[in-house]
Symmetry: D2
Subunit: 306 residues, 4 copies
């Protein structure tokens, strides 16, 4: 069955009662102020159709979803062996910002989707790009077809004000020789990427290359190779949902990436890209209603990679 | 493209030079004696075709591959909430027999495919079956269509002689209230399951239900529901390859389960079940040449869940 | 100033209000039944004087205090290098029954006073003594001058019924090659040692050799050398109070050993041996009022090793 | 027996063959250049006598020995409860610069003598002193009676160039709310304290208050109270030698503090302060020949707190 706006609206109605059972991210004031009852979903098919329901056109802070975009950019700039000796490909089995594992494993983060790994990716972008922050923004604008896309400066500044743990992570990696640039500028870029403000529709369009063998459905241009696209999906499936990747695979059955802003993207390879948004999070830091919406969608349209 | 015996033979030729670069499991003498140059592969399609190359008909110790079978049996005996409060669904991010995480997480193993998780499954089977060891053997015989299937008693006894770490795991879980029966009989059953002796062909047939929405291709009978089949595949994809699940997903792109006997099964949902065997292991404990063979097969026949 | 029975009685009066603020050990029923308001103290001087107050003549379960006795016996049976390659001499920095550190440090316990270390000592005694349980009892009888001393069989049996964590510890050490005998008999001996029932007076007499250069004040016989006596005191000072050794040194300033039965022994080298008993424990597992009583005694009589 | 210069010279002769079996600290170039064959010892008695042998008058980088001085200064500025809720009093059971324990224990360092604890102390000094770096230097000059005492600017700068791990520690504590000032200025002060250049004679004089109930033997002025002096000695005995405190207590039997510059101070309460220097370190980071010299001295003069 194909997704329709009726199906999407039904799903949102079914998950809406979950609102109130999760917890909006509050580690920075800018995120804590987002109304907890926002709820939106967008599907972007490989044919270019956009199907939506709820607050699908309203921008929110994409947070860690940006890690999939940054990785894509890094895979364009580095050879695989250059990239993968700096960061691993394995699930972490721990909270997303733990230093314990990072110390035990000598400063090599487990994967590019935990904070440590994304900070290494930001360090890699810093080393090869003259203006990495601007470049990432242009990349996002181009892929989403939304030329007005901006960083939310208030969110970025708020993150920077609460960056102690991420600074600890970066300095620890530098102590192990796995960080090449100055810490603060790299963190600042990293936080700007997290502070990209995008809607479900924009997100689904931006990541359409992951459902389409590396070719952006929106632009028709190759972003990465088909093989790289599969590789990113594999990493998303095993590591994309913090310490809830197994549960997400079990329930939803699609590669995905979540952010503490309450957004999640999910990929049906060969068919469509999905983005959902509901700010309240479960204990793993993934959108509570968003995850459930994706689980229902997978059931209704009968899609799963498994 | 469909797999043919020529393709499979070509792949085995291509991976054979890897033999000598891995290490045969030697923690028990019975495994250490297996010749390191054994190499076999079998594909069992959902249409019932068997395609093979190399030592595909020779039996070997399936070891941890049995954990997928035991889980299937337990999912038949227990309601989901009964089962999943005893064991988690998340990758461990650690070596397969670590006690550190188990203590930190209060005796609840991360997933059913690490040792601790499989021992909990064995404890669950013990509680609900009058003769769990015999029942598992019959289950394996029925699904593989091989009535002569036996436990390798020498391997099982050798495991039992070297069971201290697994006994420590079981006693620790019992200290946390997550183990209900006597330790030694449960371990003995667990080791017997690991000591099932099967060939690639038999393995591919036995697990065909995972590629066929829960229905055994060989018997035509439902083993589990289609949803349960997806769930097991999801767990295999995120947790099935010890601490190498991410790398396996990245390179091979199929749900799989490995054993230290050098076997790996891999699933192409909706199409086929694959089993490969080469005794030498990589540092994560997965068959070195076997993983490479699956990677090549995925490329040649153009299959991946991603 | 010398300790007098008046000083001791005053101190007990001063600490009595603490009763109700700690928690009687309840991991086995036999310990949980001990009245929480028991309170006693005994001083045994190197001149052979006995000074007491409160319930100093009533027997209680000495629990981990026995670890100092077992170590003394083992130091009589083994050369230093034989002994100290099986167990370390460093504080653990962790709860007394943690497996995490034991796994990280390859089955070598940090010191003889955490459970793992005491279990290794029990394994060593088992290897060199034909009847280790009887031998330890005779050793305790001889040193305390109390021929009627017995193991509390109810406590020992209750410990054995709740031995899962200690069994896990023993099996893990065996997996690392640091345990030579069968697990259960050794644990049984270990639990019997913990179940020695002794009064404060008997304890102070038994350990008088630690205050008297290795010579038992009661028997006048050398138990260990003067150097060994200093070594045991050094280990008690750094490792004798579980994860509260630093606090105890800071407040009391004497080598000591506590047990979850609420007893503590403390040594003033060259002068006296002290034993105190109050069943309620602080969060580290040390007697709450007992520690405070020792702190006050150290202040009143002006004794400290620092 | 009293220490004499002959006894000290004999001891140095006896330990000299150990030179070559340890390893000079090389994590910063400035330390790596120190000749490995330097060897000196000084005893400063509570009567004001100075007894020396070898290179006892040559200055070296005192490194972590400064942590005992900084703690003394902080104990003058803060009430006990203000101080000890920021840092613990327990041995760490881990390498001196580990972040693992710090994260598990929510940013509260185990004791003031591991790096994290000393950095908290530096943060406390920063909060209450207008010029903490100058104040500490004056404190050291006054106590040692050496008005020319200086920070080795080359060492301090070299430390600052290799400060990534310590920056990670400070940022992690700040993330847990246990660090109040800007990270880099505090680290800079901390490194300057480590870079104090002092001889064995100067060190023994500076710390004489720890052997003399808080009163500086050199100046006759109280530095801290007698109780505080005992408390610092207690912390030195349990935590002063990194992860070798138990071994040091077992062999030497005196409270002590070591530095990776190869210096160690040791206290005989009521009698004397000792300082020894030999740059090569054992695997725990303590001076190899220095520890052995103190062990021999303790035997020859028959002193031990145990």
């Amino acid at each position: 069955m194909k997704p329709t706006s009726d199906i999407l609206a039904d799903i949102l109605d079914e998950v809406r009662p979950l609102i109130g059972q999760g917890k909006v991210a509050d580690y920075i004031p800018a995120l804590a102020q987002v109304p907890n009852d926002k709820l939106g979903i967008a599907v972007y098919t490989n044919q270019g159709d956009v199907i939506t329901a709820g607050d699908a056109h309203e921008g929110f802070s994409i947070q860690s979803i940006s890690k999939a975009l940054s990785l894509t950019l890094a895979m364009n700039l580095y050879q695989p062996d250059e990239l993968w000796r700096r960061v691993g490909k394995e699930p972490s089995g721990q909270a997303f910002n733990s230093l314990i594992q990072l110390e035990m494993e000598k400063g090599i983060p487990r994967n590019p989707f935990i904070n440590a790994g994304a900070i290494v990716i930001a360090d890699l972008l810093q080393s090869r790009l003259s203006a990495p922050r601007q470049r990432l923004l242009e990349f996002a604008r181009q892929l989403s077809g939304e030329a007005q896309l901006v960083y939310d400066k208030v969110v970025a500044a708020s993150e920077m004000m609460h960056s102690d743990r991420n600074a600890a992570i970066a300095y620890l990696m530098r102590a192990f020789g796995n960080f090449d640039n100055e810490v603060l500028p790299v963190l600042n870029n990293y936080f700007h990427a997290c502070a990209l403000k995008m809607s479900c529709v924009e997100l689904a369009k931006m990541f359409s290359y992951l459902a389409n063998k590396g070719v952006s459905v929106h632009t028709g241009e190759p972003v990465i190779t088909a093989t790289q696209s599969k590789q990113i999906n594999a990493l998303l499936a095993t590591c994309g949902l913090y310490d809830g990747a197994g549960e997400f695979a079990y329930r939803v059955g699609m590669p995905g990436k979540s952010g503490v802003g309450g957004g999640i993207i999910a990929i049906v390879p060969g068919e469509m890209t999905i983005a959902v948004w509901s700010p309240e999070l479960d204990p793993c830091g993934n959108s509570l209603a968003g995850t459930r919406a994706l689980e229902l969608l997978a059931q209704r349209i009968g899609r799963s990679i498994f």
